[in-house]
């Protein structure tokens, strides 16, 4: 393999990597925020709203991410939504991830022991205070493992953004190989890179999980 190639194209590849990480972090954070809002609205909201949100979840989860991106990026201008590739990619990731995150939070909300909420009421806590002091803290702790898990899955989805010309890592590598004809080497190196990247993030996720779990068991035993 030609190492010089990677040196020569280093800055370009680095820019691609930064875009990948940017899209991933903003996309995951936005998806978590939107998913949380959806889950809370489904849990506490009126019935019609619940149906609408259920429909949203089913539609987004039942269609390919690539088609969603095409609707957003190529179909958007038809209804006056003109986005540059990077914002479109980030928005796409947020929309794509939100129903999965919403389901995680919904499951977490349902898993909050009813007795604790009833105990809060018996102590004359206001509903707002119960939410702030009981429901949310329990929810946050129990949701960390599945949230990390899905966020790791999302790192791989960022590669799809290259198809709608977001200059992320895969896109830059493809540009480089088109200019140098070194398709094979470049793609192979990229695969190894993603592999390492995902493994490192999974490892970090397990560490994080371990930390929250330790906190949880300490809290419960205290």
């Amino acid at each position: 393999m030609d190492i010089d190639l990677f040196v020569q194209y280093g800055p370009m590849l680095l820019r691609g990597l930064l875009n990948t990480v940017l899209c991933w972090i903003v996309g995951a954070a936005g998806g978590i925020a939107l998913g949380f809002v959806i889950a809370v609205a489904m849990y506490y909201g009126p019935r019609p709203l619940r149906y609408v949100l259920r429909g949203y979840i089913e539609v987004i989860r039942g269609t390919p991410f690539l088609i969603q991106l095409f609707i957003l990026y190529y179909g958007g201008p038809n209804i006056g939504l003109r986005l540059d590739p990077v914002p479109a990619g980030i928005l796409g990731l947020i929309i794509y991830g939100s129903p999965y995150y919403a389901e995680i939070f919904r499951a977490g909300l349902q898993a909050v022991p009813r007795g604790m909420i009833e105990a809060g009421r018996a102590m004359a806590m206001s509903e707002g205070k119960i939410l702030r002091r009981i429901t949310l803290p329990i929810l946050m702790v129990s949701s960390v493992p599945p949230l990390t898990n899905f966020s790791i899955i999302l790192t791989k989805e960022t590669a799809i953004l290259s198809i709608v010309t977001v200059p992320e890592l895969l896109y830059q590598v493809q540009t480089m190989s088109a200019e140098t004809f070194a398709y094979m080497e470049a793609m192979f190196a990229l695969a190894l890179f993603y592999w390492g990247f995902v493994e490192v993030i999974s490892w970090a996720g397990r560490k994080l999980e371990h930390k929250t779990n330790a906190f949880l068991s300490k809290e419960l035993s205290a």
Binding site: V59, G62, P64, L66, Y183
Partner: protein
């Protein structure tokens, strides 16, 4: 304005291309199941290096984006002189990737079958082969059914990525039609609707199957 006529006019083409979406995901699932079973057995093998290799396989195919795997196969196979039609290369890529996920699904299901049952069967003098056939596999199949249906739905969705290596399935067809008609919004929404119908049907079938397996 949202043009319904564009959708109606092009629907036959979209449906025609949908057959390839079903073909790629269906064959991918078939290959994934066969390879997944082999991998699962290898992963549970008491021989250390066999289970190591299987674990490495699973980690690689789950860690690398499928799009990168597809492109890798697309460039790699011709470069070593294997000249198979792109459609088969794509089916193989999807199947190899699905195998990694399916192996983990099956492994989880096998572990979930209570250990005492296999021990009881062994105590009754059942042959190990009979234990697998009569006790472990039927129960593991039932436990893993919801996840396997999920995996199939996932495959229908990721089959859209094979459009990137030039296979004319639903996504690629909608790209061509929207380029020709300048109506991307309508065409892509129609494509999304077709994917949604397929996946809802699969989910419904899966639920019916689960009910039948319930005893």
């Amino acid at each position: 304005m949202f043009s319904w006529s564009t959708i109606v006019e092009n629907l036959p083409y979209l449906l025609q291309a949908t057959r390839f979406t079903l073909l790629v995901s269906g064959l991918g699932m078939g290959l994934g199941l066969v390879m997944g079973m082999v991998l699962c057995v290898a992963r549970l093998s008491p021989i250390r290096w066999i289970s190591r290799i299987a674990a490495l396989y699973v980690s690689f195919f789950r860690g690398v984006p499928l799009l990168v795997q597809l492109l890798l196969a697309y460039y790699f196979l011709p470069s070593i002189g294997i000249d198979i039609p792109p459609l088969w290369a794509a089916v193989c890529s999807i199947g190899l990737c699905a195998a990694a996920y399916i192996a983990e699904i099956l492994r989880g299901a096998l572990i979930a079958v209570p250990h005492g049952q296999a021990e009881a069967a062994a105590a009754l003098g059942m042959h190990p082969f009979t234990i697998w056939k009569r006790i472990l596999i039927p129960q593991a199949l039932k436990i893993s059914m919801p996840s396997l249906v999920n995996e199939l739905i996932m495959l229908v969705k990721v089959s859209s990525l094979v459009s990137a290596v030039g296979i004319v399935e639903l996504t690629r067809m909608s790209q061509s039609i929207s380029a020709a008609t300048f109506r991307p919004l309508e065409i892509y929404i129609a494509a999304a609707a077709i994917y949604l119908v397929i996946n809802l049907a699969l989910a419904g079938l899966g639920q019916a199957l689960e009910k039948r397996l319930d005893y």
